[in-house]
Every structure is written in structure tokens, then in C-alpha cells.
Symmetry: C2
Subunit: 675 residues, 2 copies
């Protein structure tokens, strides 16, 4: 054992050298933390984490989630030991086209489980992965159990989301979650005690976690802590008191450890000597990008053991699959990431209801037909109507993950990040719900869904000022325009990074859900009304939504085209009736997703919204929400101010969202066009 | 004392009746919580809170911050007892034009200290107010000390922001902050224990708070707790185990307390009897909107006492003012809310620097010339360059508020909400800083700054993909378009709800800061570059920024106009030089704020960006960021995808943000225009 500790320390020193050298070569990055955390990650990957070095996507691998993405040199150096990164990749750290960006981006084939950088999100994703694991184990058996490890730093501990992640993990009793807190007493701009004096251990104990505090660079102490954590049935926090910049020395050979200055710049820029540091750590300053021979030999053996263990587990799985072919097929389908086959047409919608109610109908169908879906609400299940799902299942709770509904409590952001973690784990589909105005709280989460290409479904109800009496704090105005910015932003695959759908009525809601469930590559936002809406289309007609925008009601040679999304389509239709009575020829277009519409061929776009016909848009959001659709000569009637507290019908009148005002506005607009 | 408790209980019952009746009449709202919290708020406003009923803006009043805005009926009923709302106002709860919106909106003349509704923000604003109080006391003396009370519910306790607020209040030792946690075991969609099992008391103790748990409807116990809290030098949490819907009964007279159903709908809709409940609480069901005679008499006496106490304090202040005329004048200036006189022209900027560095120069000047300004950074002071301010002051710390810099730690959202609280307190100006991409985390906070009209300054640096090596998680792309949506949204006064400025160079940065400091009515976003920028204008020329957009370089009858904000102006200028060498006549326009530009008279707008001259825009954000400025025939070169990790200069080349590409793009555009 002692000999083993020696080689472990040497391997950790090797990771320190690689990390410091990568940052030095890149001329930017964060060496200090990486050098402090090396002992833990090295021990974890050698003695605890189960993985198959040859098959990084093995579904039953333990998961490792990084929270502090700026410590990426440590992760890449570690994964170099596993063979997932070449020495060339390490040398090209932070360079164009290299697989070693400044902050890690999810790359399952290389063992990177999550994109990180925005502090706090990484460990909350780990909570999601741990939930997914328990969900699957409840359905397929303990044979597929695995652990989820998270690595967090002072920043993540301080981030607000730690409250949601800590509370939920404790409440659900996620004994499969083990988190290492790299507590080096240093953060980017100051020492930690300058900004905080909380008792972290006590706080996590208040959340029902198992907590131990150990010397974070002592392999024996870390091992003991990991063994204890693996045995505990609560989520575990190992507080490792690590040494920032461990091993760093000056040109004179004096210690340069525990310095704020080594947090965010190369060692030499901070005042240390890289060469002396490398030597101090047992390396060759002239040749820093190497793995020591004894370390290489050690890792060769480790990887063999890991592969052997994975083989055994896979053999056991094969046995199980043989004994349970139906379950095995189901498991395969779950992990395929492909959309579940759903008989969408069979979903009968009550007409004239709020789209949130229509969504509840769909969710009821999904609860019965999609066995691997978790739906969550931030304490609004009876308002956002995810109770349509909840009524046909039960809530996830400590010791019982047979249900499929997560009552997240009031923590919109954490809920969304947990959803990202569930999606990253694989095998489970996930939807999260709250009021549309609170999508603001979730932006940092869905930006990462978009960047990672995770098919999380965001259900946002109460979609406009028609929230009514709850007033301006609860009335989204700018939010639709805001979310559609993500439709304009492409992900690394060149795809629209997020699909945002605001359906016009009950059956279009079914189609929106169809599109969301079939969109397995990017997140989907579903934006629903609180108030009832007069139905406009049949299910078959509503399939036009699959092209982003489509003609709901047509006429030959229209005098004017009316376009909207959501409930404003019905308002336009109301106005159109009156305009037609006056002899005007009116086309109505429903545009649940401008972004998707703009990916259609030009001929289709021109057929639906020809540039040479006057086009009038109505939106309960900022006018800019529709300006791209009506074109340069069109006109948009929208809202350019915060809402007010009053019954929705009163606000409709006051703000001009009535058929009468459509007539007035369109008439004025057409007069302007003619003039 | 016992007799006093009897009348207090009767007054609380009166508040319960009014609250339940308001919700019933409005046909929507939240009666249960209001009925449970009535005992506390009534006791607070009678025996503890210091205020002047005739002068609600008295600067040394104790502050009361509501967190759960949905409990507004309780607040309005309480403030009716103070004479700030008429019975008619209560009857018009949640109606158009009434001063009693569904969620309270800041209204100092009526005793409403903050807008609330988005859970968690209210109590974090209280932390800000408590900081402002300590800051002012450090400068003017303990004579002006006052307490800040906060009222929080289960939702606020669960919200992520509780982590930031709890940690910071504890770290700063805010003994002037007393928070009541209305713990009624019920939340909107479930009982609390279904979603959480954290030990709240232990958690706050981990944050160094003084915590007591009491029966929340027992006036004697509440009084004891409030006395102890007032005596403790730590922030205090009083956990009041209250009874949801206290006093509610069915038609049969059976208890209807502790029901989830009374959280968010009228009592009758939940299944209780309003009439029987009113009778049970000692009221007249036929006439619910009254204050009992004995309660009215009691409050008359209370208000007299409050007024007397305030008079005494004001007399003491007058004495102090006489003895310290200069300090008194300063205090008055601080609370005037007017901009501090600054010699902006005297600020010498080094040319060719990053605008974050230019901002640091301004901040250094402000540190020396604005005595009532707090600047805060979320652990990035050395990157966002608020250290320009920090270097000339010290950090706020427990027991020493003589400094003016708040090291918030890694909690962007909490920091912003605290800033709102500082601004609400009055007397103190405030700026908060982080990276621009993390403005996403602060959206819910600056939306409330915008709605409340608070002049918080948001400093956002690292404004584009030129963040470089840190990669896509740290590179804002859609954020400029996103923040400008708030420029399109008007507040309740009809003003642009937020001013967003992205200056083009060092001297324009000085002007941007001038505009921010002179904008005392709405929040201002200041968006700065990480990288150096070649200077374009002198300070005097840069004053053109005060009109939102202005001509940086003109020529008679331009062939093309180039427009941008931020560092893209310099890139355009680089390209313009080459275009001019080819004989083209080029005008360059810097547009630090499109929103402000669109409020200028049409003649000015037409003079700067005439619609009949080809206009080319370049933005490091989404093309839509500039589409409104170039007009229907213009062209925008922007980015439509996430960034990548690489040195900034490499990204400039790869993404086409070079003078050469300006030439190429403009040439192609002009060819298209001619065709």
C-alpha cells in the first residue's frame, strides 16, 4: 500500500507538471488549482472510478462531473493518462481547433462528461446524473448501479445553485453521489476568508449529507474518505484542504504555494519559476510534456484492471439481457437517444382550452407511453399543468425512484441544471416547468443545454400579460424575443441551438410537443398560455407547425397577411372575421417558431409570407418579436412596456389585444401602405 | 401586557379578515399565507418597527422588506392600519389602476419598500439595505442607525439566492438585519416536507446567524424572539411555525387550517366558508371591510407613539445637523438621489487601452470623488478592473464599514439583488461587476432594477468572443441583443427601462460613465472590452454618445455609412482607411446605445443615419444586434454561432473581425446595392 501511495504521489506530481506546462505554453489559464487537485483526481481515476478505457461511453460507467471548468488542465492531464488526449493535444491547450479548450466541453468519447466553466452548474449536473441513475436502477435493477462523482471548488460552493443542488441531493438521499470540494482557501481575486466565513461542513450536514474534512493532498486520507463515502447511504461531501499551486517554487527554490496569483495566470507570470517547479516535482524542465516511465507503467496496469472490471460487468449485463430480453431491448431504446414512437394523432384535445391545459393532456399521454421520462416543476405543478403527468405517476423520493416526477421546490435554475445532468447521463428524457417570466432564472442553464446540444424540454406557461392579476413581476414581455435569440444562435454542429415553440391552440400544442419529443439534438422551449384560446386548427392542419410557420386560413390574392404566434393568432382571427365582413381578403399565418421557419427553403418562406403583400403582426411581447417576420414594409402591434396587475380581459382591452383593435390597426396600416 | 396581547390578537384577526376578503373580492390571490403571517407583521408594526406614519420617507426609519409578494393582502391590510391605503384600495385589490397590485410594487409614500413576487429577491434586497445602513452609520454616526426587517416564506428559503444572501449577511455580521421566516409547512403545490428536508436553522447557523424557532402565531413568543434578535450582533432568523389559513373554517364550522388549497386561491374556491371564517375571527360577514373599533383605537395610539418617537429622533438629527453642518449637507446630498458633481473632463485616459482599463481609470476617480458609492465584484475585481476603485478604498467587513468595496464572492445574482437593496435604502450609489456573459445570471435582478427604476450600474467586461481562450462558456454572443431588449421596454413612467452603453474606446468610456452616473432614474449597463482598442475620439467628441449614436468620422455625401458599438468601431475605422484609399467616401458612426438614439428627434436620427445612404453594421454579437440601426436596406456582419477557445487575435481572423474583411464585406454589399 505504501509503495502504491508513492507511485500515486508521483503520478499526481506528473499531472501537476503537465498542468502547469500547458498553461505556461498557452500563455493563459489556471495552474494553481489544478496543481492542488491533482492528488484527488489521480486517486479517483486509479482506485475508485469505474470506467472502460476503451469504451468511454459504457452506459454503466461511473460519472465524473467537473464544476470548476477553469481547472481543465488537471482534467485533460488526467485523461491523457487514460489515453483520451495525446501529448500534442495538451500542448495545444486553448488553441484554435484543439480538443482542449480553455473550459472543457462535453466530449464523451474523450471522457469529458460535461461542459463546465460557469461555476456551480457542474455539480448540479452531477445531481441530475445521480437522479437518472437511481431512476434507471429502479427500472432495471441494482446490477446497473454506478456512482456519480463531482469535483467542486470554492466558486461552486459559493454560487447560489449550491443551495438547490445540496438541498435536493440530501432530500432525495442520493447515496450514489460523492462530491470532492477542493478547498484551497484561495479564489480568483482574494483569499477565501476575505469573502466568506460559512461553515461549509455544517451547511451540507443541514442538507443531510455525509461530510468529512481531510488533508486534500494526502492520498491515505483521501482514500479513507472515499471508502467511507462509498459506504454511506447519504450524498457525501469530502472537503479536501488542498494546497493551491502545490509544488510551485521560485527561481530561488522557495515555496510559491498558496498564492492568489497562481489562480488565473501562468506560474511565471505570477512570479514562480516553472523550471524549478518542474524539477521540484521530479520532472525534467527541458522536457515537461512527458509521462514518467514508472507512472506510465503504473497506469498501464490500472487501465488493464479497469478494462477487466468493465468486461466482467458487461458480461454480467449480457447474462441479464439474455434472461430479460424485453427489458434489455427497452434499455437499449432508452440509451439510443432516439425519439419514442408516439401515436400523436390519437391524442384528443378538448377545444378552446388554454394551451397549458392542452399540454397537460399531452403530458398525460406521455406519462403512459414514455417510460423513461422525468418531468419536474419548481413548485407550480398545479399551475403549469405538469400535474397532467404527475397524476399518472408518483414523485421521486428517497429510497423510491419508481415514480417519474421531480418536485424540485422553488429553485428554477437548479431544476434546469439538474435536467441537463439527467440528459447528460443518458437513458432518460426530461422536461422542466415553471412560469415563462421565470425563464429569466434559467438562462444560464439553457444556454448550456444549447451549447451541449441536450434535448431538455422547457415548459413555460403563463406566457404573456394575460397572467393578469399577478402583475408585472409575473408578466413576460421581453421573454419571447429573448428566447428567440437562441434560435438565431447556432451550436457547434451548425444547428439552431434551441427550438422555441409558442403554439396557437390546443391541437397545435400537440404538434409542438411532437416536435419537442422528436427534437433529440437540441433543447426545446414550449411556451403556453394561462388563458383559454379559441381553437384555430385541427391536428392535421397544425402539422404545418413543423415548418415553423404556416397558413392557418388562406384566400386567393390576399390584401393583407396577419401573422402571430400563440394566442394572438386567435385574436387576429377574430379581427379577420370583421375585416372580411368589410370586404378585405385576409390570410392568417401561425408562426410558432420564426427560427425554424427561416431554415425552410426560400420558396416555402415566400409562399407563406410573400414579401410583396402587406403583412401585419400582433404580439403580446415586444414588437421586435415579430419584426423579422413582417419584413421591412410590415407593421407589428406589440407591447413596449411592463404589464400591470388587473384581470386578463381588462388588460386585453387596455392594451388593445382585441379583434376590434386588429381591425383598427390593420385598417390604419393599409391606409399607410396605400399612401 | 396580557391585555396588550389580546388587542394584538384581535388586530391580527382583523388583518386576516381583510386579507381573506380582499382575495375573495378579487377572485384571485393568496389568502392562506397572509392569514398565517398576520400575527408577526402586526406585532412588528406596533411594538418594534420604527417609522413615522406621516412621513413614510423618513430616512432613518426601520425598513421592512417583503420577500413573498403573493402575501400582499397581509401587507396592504397592515399598511391600511397605518393609513397608507384606504378601504377602497383594499377592495380594489388586483384591479386596473389601483395602488394594490397582486404583487407589491415599490411605493415609498405608502410604506412599500420593495417590489416583490420573484421569490428570494426580497430578502436579498434587505441584505443590501442593511449594508447601506452600516455604510452610512460608519460615515455619519450611530445616531442614524436603524434596523432592517425581512419577511420570508418557504419559497424564498428554497430559492438559490438564499445561499448568497445568508452567506454574505453572516460574513458581514449584519446585526441590524432581522428576518422572519413564515414557516407554515405548506407551499403552492405541496406540503413543504414533500420537497425538502433541510434543517433551516442549522443552515443559517452555518452562515453565522442567530436563529430561534418559535410558535409563529403566539404573540408572546414572537415578542421574545424579536427582543432577542434586536439584542444580538449577528443577523437574526426567527423561524415562526405559523398556521396556514389561520382561523379558516368550513360552512360547518370545522377547521380549514393548514391546507395547500388555501395557498393560491380564494377561501371559498378552496372549500372553506368565508362568512364562517370571518365570524370565527370575530368579524361581521356582512361587512368584512372594516377595522374593529377597538383595533382602530389601539392603532391610533400606536401611530401616535410612532410619530412621537420619530419626532424625537428628528429633533436629535436637527441638533446633530446644527453641530455638523458640513456632514449634514453631505447627508442631504446623499439622500437627494441627485448625481454627484464630477469633473469628467479632467479624467485623463491612456489611449489605446481596453475599455475595462479605461473604466478602471474612471472608477479610481469616482473612488476619490463620490463619497457615497459602493462598488462590488463577484470575485473578479482584478479582471473586471473594479480594482481601480478598490485600490483607493478598502473592503466592507464585519465591524468595519468605512470602506466602500464589497467582495461579494462568486454569486453574481445575489450581488445584483443586494445592489437593488442598497439603491432602495437610499443615500448610497452602487455599481456591480462581472463578466458580460454572466449577465445571464443577473437578468431577474436587473429586470427588477428596471421595473423599480433603480439607478444601479452594471459593469460587464469581457464583452465578446475576444475573451479568447476561455471559450464559448465565457464568450457573450447573444447578450448584447438580449440586454438591449430592456432598452425597448418602457417602465411605468414611460421611460426606457434600462440604458445599455457599449463604448468604442477609452474616452467614450469616460462619457459612458458620465451618462451612467447622471442617469439617476433607471439602471445602466456598461459593457466593456477585455482587449485593447485603438482610440477613435477625444473626450469632447465622445460627448456625442449622450445622444446614443453619433458621427465619429464624417465626409460630405458619404457613399456608405459604417456603424457599430464597442470595439467594432475601431475595426470599421481600420477597414474605412483601406476603403478610402480605394476612393470611397465613408462615414463612421459609433452607437453605444441604440435605445437612447431612438429617443432623439427624427432630424438628428436622420442626420446621423439617413435612410437613403447604404449602411453597413459590424457586431461581435448576433446580427440582429444592429439590424434596427442599419435599416431595411442595410447589411450587418455579425456572429451567428457560439464562440471557440483560442487567442482573441486568432478568433478575429477566423470570424472575420478585421479591417480586411470590412473592406471585403462592404465592397460586396455595395455591389449588391448597385445591382
Amino acid at each position: 500500500k505504501l509503495m502504491n501511495n508513492e507511485i500515486l504521489n508521483r503520478a499526481a506530481d506528473n499531472i501537476r507538471i503537465l498542468s502547469a506546462s500547458m498553461v505556461e505554453k498557452a500563455k493563459s489559464g489556471h495552474p494553481g488549482g489544478a496543481m492542488g487537485g491533482a492528488d484527488f483526481i489521480n486517486l479517483l481515476y486509479t482506485e475508485f472510478l469505474n470506467y472502460d478505457p476503451k469504451d468511454p461511453r459504457w452506459i454503466n460507467r461511473d460519472r465524473f462531473f467537473m464544476d470548476p471548468g477553469h481547472m481543465s488542465p488537471m482534467l485533460y492531464s488526467q485523461l491523457h493518462m487514460l489515453g483520451h488526449y495525446s501529448m500534442e493535444d495538451l500542448k495545444n491547450f486553448r488553441q484554435w481547433g484543439s480538443p482542449t479548450p480553455g473550459h472543457p466541453e462535453v466530449d464523451l468519447d474523450r471522457g469529458v462528461e460535461n461542459t463546465s466553466g460557469p461555476l456551480g452548474q457542474g455539480h448540479a449536473m452531477a445531481v441530475g446524473a445521480a437522479i437518472a441513475e437511481r431512476f434507471l436502477v429502479a427500472r432495471f435493477g441494482e446490477w446497473m448501479a454506478h456512482k456519480t462523482y463531482a469535483f467542486i471548488s470554492d466558486g461552486g460552493i459559493q454560487e447560489e445553485i449550491s443551495q438547490g443542488a445540496g438541498r435536493i441531493a440530501g432530500h432525495l438521499g442520493l447515496g450514489n453521489l460523492i462530491m470532492f470540494y477542493d478547498a484551497n482557501d484561495i479564489q480568483l481575486s482574494t483569499e477565501v476568508d476575505e469573502v466568506t466565513s460559512e461553515d461549509v461542513a455544517k451547511k451540507y450536514e443541514a442538507w443531510n449529507w455525509h461530510v468529512v474534512t481531510v488533508e486534500g493532498n494526502n492520498v491515505e486520507a483521501l482514500r479513507e474518505a472515499l471508502v467511507a463515502a462509498n459506504a454511506d447511504d447519504r450524498p457525501s461531501l469530502i472537503i479536501g484542504k488542498t494546497i493551491m499551486g502545490k509544488g510551485a517554487v521560485t527561481a530561488e527554490g522557495e515555496s510559491f504555494e498558496r498564492k492568489v496569483s497562481t489562480h488565473g495566470q501562468p506560474l511565471t507570470a505570477a512570479g514562480a519559476s516553472l523550471d524549478k517547479t518542474i524539477e521540484n516535482l521530479g520532472g525534467d524542465a527541458a522536457n515537461p510534456f512527458v509521462v514518467f516511465e514508472d507512472v506510465a507503467a503504473f497506469y498501464a496496469k490500472v487501465l488493464e484492471e479497469k478494462a477487466d472490471y468493465a468486461s466482467e460487468k458487461k458480461a454480467a449485463q449480457a447474462e441479464w439481457a439474455k434472461a430479460h430480453p424485453e427489458l434489455a431491448a427497452k434499455l437499449e431504446q432508452f440509451f439510443s437517444g432516439e425519439a419514442t414512437a408516439i401515436n400523436w394523432e390519437s391524442i384528443e384535445q378538448k377545444q378552446g382550452v388554454a394551451t397549458r391545459a392542452a399540454s397537460a393532456t399531452v403530458l398525460g399521454h406521455l406519462a403512459e407511453n414514455v417510460e423513461n421520462m422525468i418531468v419536474s416543476s419548481a413548485d407550480l405543478s398545479n399551475s403549469d399543468k405538469t400535474d397532467g403527468f404527475l397524476k399518472k405517476t408518483t414523485v421521486l423520493k428517497k429510497g423510491d425512484f419508481s415514480g417519474a416526477f421531480l418536485q424540485a421546490g422553488v429553485c428554477e435554475f437548479t431544476m434546469a441544471v439538474i435536467a441537463n445532468g439527467i440528459a447528460l447521463h443518458g437513458g432518460v428524457q426530461v422536461a422542466v416547468a415553471t412560469f415563462f417570466v421565470f425563464s429569466d432564472y434559467m438562462k444560464p442553464a439553457f444556454r448550456l443545454s444549447a451549447l451541449m446540444g441536450l434535448p431538455v424540454k422547457y415548459i413555460w406557461t403563463h406566457d404573456a400579460f394575460r397572467v393578469g392579476e399577478d402583475g408585472p413581476t409575473h408578466q413576460p414581455i421581453e421573454q419571447e424575443a429573448q428566447i428567440r435569440l437562441m434560435e438565431k444562435l447556432k451550436n457547434h454542429h451548425g444547428d439552431m441551438s434551441l427550438l422555441a415553440l409558442r403554439p396557437a391552440d390546443a391541437d397545435e400544442t400537440t404538434v409542438a410537443w411532437k416536435m419537442a419529443m422528436e427534437n433529440t439534438k437540441t433543447p426545446t422551449a414550449l411556451i403556453f398560455s394561462r388563458q383559454n384560446i379559441k381553437s384555430q386548427v385541427s391536428y392535421t392542419e397544425a402539422l404545418g407547425a413543423e415548418r415553423g410557420a404556416y397558413i392557418v386560413k388562406d384566400v386567393e390574392n390576399p390584401d393583407v397577411i396577419l401573422v402571430a404566434s400563440g394566442s394572438e393568432v386567435a385574436t387576429l382571427a377574430d379581427g379577420a372575421g370583421k375585416l372580411e365582413a368589410d370586404g378585405l381578403k385576409v390570410r392568417i399565418v401561425s408562426a410558432p417558431s420564426e427560427g425554424l421557419f427561416r431554415t425552410q427553403d426560400k420558396a416555402y418562406q415566400q409562399a407563406v409570407l410573400p414579401t410583396n403583400v402587406p403583412t401585419f403582426g400582433m404580439t403580446a411581447g415586444l414588437p421586435v418579436t415579430l419584426e423579422g417576420l413582417v419584413g421591412p414594409f410590415g407593421k407589428v402591434f406589440g407591447l413596449d412596456h411592463f404589464g400591470y396587475s388587473a384581470p386578463a380581459g381588462v388588460l386585453d382591452e387596455k392594451f388593445g389585444f382585441t379583434g376590434e383593435n386588429v381591425v383598427k390597426q390593420v385598417t390604419e396600416y393599409l391606409a399607410e401602405v396605400k399612401a
